[in-house]
């Protein structure tokens, strides 16, 4: 196709969080095309069908539906006119394209409204010029421009060609709709790919087919970072159905993300390649971390806790002195395990290397860094790496790391054919970037009225010297910092060979458990109602440091906490039967304010039945897609409960023991309680929903278990043996 005239809108994050627009108008003559590219995000066909590109990867957070909703609203088209396509990876054109950190809403809501409004303004200008009337006399509705005075109207399809020749208006100057008039934003719009999902059409990375491709498995060292000394690849190659087998030399350094050493096996069917692995005979150099273990870490953490922390994160007032003088002191040691992401679609990637260039089909949450990693792995320029984003069968942060892309690319290059690499479940569970384990040694002091006067935590985490392992950090703003006069957060660090990384609501998914459980212990110790005790700590509404510079608004947190007490009938919890109880917790993460109550019944055998969950969230002024929002929030709360009840990764001899869903147990439908979701709308910019509902549900459950049984859960996953009568 000859170079057609394109109007590119560039929206990118500038320093200080402002957004800039650059419109690029290549001067080449325009070729007649059936659908006019109005902007980089929007094409309009003569029949009025509007194609909107969704720029970010879809992991199940509903982004492929939500971002186009925002554009369509301001463009003022009917949702039924809209078709959605996945944008290619082109961060120069679309801005950052990734799925993580519940960032899509705060980063894109305002800019994409402006993209839509700019398109609408161009169409109005085109209509006004056609009719030779002032643009101010024109209005739009559902993809049509009207001039009411003269009773004329023109559909967007008829105007597209003319509009696309106009300059793109300055985004900061476009007029946005009054949210009261929204027709799409705020409506429960269903996932655009649902019809394909329920009929089993090809959508996911694992469904990719490239002509002539072979299926590959890749055996890595069970100890992270281990290297191949030798392997019986010649014998493997001779086995029936096997096309090729070879050692891949890795480049893995301390970053733990680049290509690992391993052995690739290629066959016409993945099952054949995978089956042959049991015949592999590999001698590994397991490297320096082959003696590490979960048990060893726990012992080391206890030993470290006996001494002063290696460093202080924060010291307010005089915590040791205040603890000495306190009327009541509570001491507790909390810990949580490594966790795997257990995406249901195992890691996979299809790669075709030819003539020095590579094309990939990758279920990645983070395609930009994936492109860079592949370029570095193969030693080719980034411009020679093409990344196609497929739908993703679950991310939860795992697919922010692109190790599978480097593997597929390297294997395709070495084999000289297109290759679909697919990990089996054991690969996936044993070669993750785990939610780091952690250990907290806490002390809290109450005065004689049961008010919190002092709190200290010695946090034992992982890292090397002052550099912490990925996602192993605790912020100095961690609650209840700045709300207790005497507070000390100290930290000590253990060395780790296990790769770590973000898991849905990173850090918060662990720290909420620790601090919201310990706060509960203190409330009970002081004879205070756990809701009232928390409200007292939050105090008068104020904005404290936190939230990545956007602040932690204690008033918003008190608001959701009061609301959850109301909807869960907290005040009447005393009337519940024996061994049935409610627990409460709140947490602020990813700019979202969530308070949750869990009701549980614990049998005499220690079995935990989840009776009901109440969730109240405050994510600002607008829920963009209420259907997707409810699904995300219910999913996040249940995800947290599943992790607390049945998930933990054990390290022995430097390697992961668990390999499948029998020992790392996802939540199943017979365990699922009703999850009631309420949103408080407040006058703040909308923020994301993929993560913040998860953290508080775990302590809410553990606090309910305490209320039901008198047993305090201080380690995860929950050991039901502790709860037997």
């Amino acid at each position: 196709m000859s170079a057609s005239r394109r109007t590119f809108l560039k929206v990118s994050a500038a320093a200080g969080g402002a957004f800039m627009l650059r419109a690029t108008l290549p001067g080449a003559a325009r070729a007649e095309a059936s659908a006019e590219p109005l902007t980089a995000f929007v094409r309009i066909a003569p029949d009025g069908v509007v194609t909107i590109l969704s720029k970010n990867p879809e992991v199940g957070q509903g982004i492929r539906t939500m971002l186009p909703m925002v554009i369509a609203e301001e463009l003022d088209v009917a949702w039924s006119q809209v078709r959605i396509e996945q944008a290619p990876l082109d961060e120069a054109k679309f801005g950052r394209q990734y799925a993580g950190g519940s960032q899509a809403t705060p980063m894109n809501y305002d800019p994409l409204r402006r993209v839509g409004a700019a398109g609408r303004q161009m169409l109005v200008t085109a209509a006004a010029a056609t009719w030779m009337v002032p643009a101010a006399e024109c209005r739009t509705e559902s993809g049509v421009v009207y001039h009411d005075k003269t009773g004329r109207k023109l559909g967007y399809g008829a105007l597209a060609s003319k509009a696309s020749k106009l300059p793109v208006p300055n985004l900061s100057g476009v007029t946005l709709k009054d949210p009261k008039t929204f027709k799409i934003i705020g409506q429960p719009i269903h996932g655009v790919e649902n019809p394909k999902i329920v009929t089993g059409q090809k959508l996911f990375g694992i469904d990719t087919v490239v002509p002539g491709m072979l299926h590959a498995v890749f055996q890595k060292c069970p100890v992270f970072g281990g290297k191949v000394v030798s392997a019986n690849v010649d014998a493997i190659k001779k086995l029936p159905g096997i096309h090729d087998a070879f050692i891949v030399r890795g480049q893995r350094g301390p970053d733990q993300q680049s290509l690992a050493d391993g052995v690739a096996i290629l066959a016409k069917s993945w099952w054949i390649a995978n089956r042959v692995r049991e015949k592999l005979d590999i001698v590994w150099d397991e490297g320096p971390t082959a003696a590490q273990s979960t048990k060893g870490f726990a012992e080391q953490a206890v030993a470290l806790s006996q001494a002063a922390p290696a460093s202080w994160l924060r010291r307010d007032g005089d915590a040791p002195g205040a603890l000495k003088d306190a009327a009541h002191v509570v001491e507790a040691a909390y810990s949580y395990p490594f966790l795997s992401h257990i995406d249901l679609e195992p890691q996979n990637c299809t790669a075709h290397f030819q003539n020095g260039k590579v094309e990939l089909w990758a279920p990645t949450q983070n395609p930009g860094p994936g492109q860079k990693l592949v370029a570095a792995t193969l030693g080719i320029p980034e411009s020679d790496v093409t990344v196609n984003m497929t739908r993703i069968g679950g991310g939860f942060g795992r697919r922010l790391r692109n190790d599978f892309m480097a593997e597929a690319a390297a294997i395709s290059k070495q084999a000289g054919v297109p290759v679909k690499l697919l990990w089996n479940r054991a690969d996936d569970m044993r070669h993750d970037f785990y939610r780091p384990a952690g250990f907290h040694f806490l002390k809290g002091g109450l005065d004689d009225k049961g008010s919190l006067v002092a709190l200290s935590d010695h946090f034992v985490t992982f890292g090397q010297g002052s550099k912490l392992a990925d996602a192993a950090l605790m912020e100095v703003t961690e609650f209840p910092a700045a709300l207790v006069p005497n507070l000390a957060f100290g930290q000590s660090v253990m060395e780790l060979g296990v790769p770590t990384g973000p898991l849905r609501a990173p850090r918060s998914n662990a720290l909420a458990f620790v601090f919201q459980s310990f706060i509960d212990e203190l409330a009970h110790q002081g004879g205070r109602d756990p809701v009232e005790f928390r409200l007292a700590i939050l105090g008068e509404p104020k904005v404290l440091p936190g939230g990545n510079g956007r602040g932690f608004d204690t008033g918003r947190m008190s608001g959701v906490l009061r609301k959850v007490a109301e909807v869960s009938d907290w005040a009447n919890r005393g009337s519940l039967p024996a061994r049935t109880a409610k627990g409460v917790a709140f947490y602020f993460s990813h700019l979202g304010y969530f308070a949750e109550v869990v009701q549980t019944t614990v049998s005499a055998k220690g079995e935990i039945k989840l009776d009901h969950v109440w969730v109240v969230g405050d994510v600002g002024s607008q829920i963009i897609n209420p259907s997707g929002a409810e699904n995300q929030v219910q999913g996040a709360a249940l995800d947290g409960l599943g992790a607390a009840l049945g998930q933990g990764i054990t390290i022995e001899r430097g390697r992961v023991i668990e390999a499948n869903f029998d020992t790392v147990r996802p939540l199943r439908t017979d365990q699922v309680p009703p999850v009631e979701v309420h949103f408080l709308t407040t006058d703040h910019p909308p923020t994301g929903l993929g993560e913040p509902a998860l953290p508080p549900v775990i302590p809410a459950l553990c606090n309910a278990i305490f209320a039901a049984t008198g047993k305090r859960i201080r380690g995860l996953p929950i050991d039901t043996d502790l709860l037997k009568v």
Binding site: V59, G60, Q61, G62, P188, H190, G191, E193, N194, P195, I197, V198, T199, G200, Q201, K202, F204, I206, D207, V209, H215, G241, S269, W270, W271, I272, N274, D343, L344, E345, P346, R391, I392, G393, G394, G395, F396, L422, N424, R425, S627, G628, N631, Q634, G635, A636, L638, D639, G642, N660, F661, D662, P666, L667, R668, T669, D670, V672, P674, V675
Partner: protein, 155 residues
Amino acid sequence: MAYTIKINGVNRTVEVDGDMPLLWVLRDELDMKGSKFGCGAGLCGACTVHVDGVAVRGCQTPISSVGNAAVSTIEGMAADPVGRRLQEAWLALDVPQCGYCQAGQIMSATALLRQTPHPNDADIDAAMTGNVCRCCSYTRIRAAIKMAAGAGAKS
């Protein structure tokens, strides 16, 4: 060796080892990608298909065991009255999150409704507990099964 099996009413012949699981015959030999691989061990249900109307795990079903039985997959559910009602309920309630488990969920639900047209919660637990939804869309899955069962009652 050559196996001829009937899938969604059509005879298909493949040349594979007898112990190749039906899941991989479908996905890699016949390019039917609707049935999904999740665990390979009968623990997640992503690979659920029907053999003579019974929900089985495709990853645990060697092709040699299929014989003359009728195999149906998610690709055939639009032509199945019960399967179709379930698909419609799934759409009406906007069930999927990532969507990866949903083909298996619909296959298990279809087998359930054929056996038990008006399942109670315990019936749903028994039929659906083998199907993992990592995104935890369970609340809507249950509601969609009930909706489809209700729709069946009316028609």
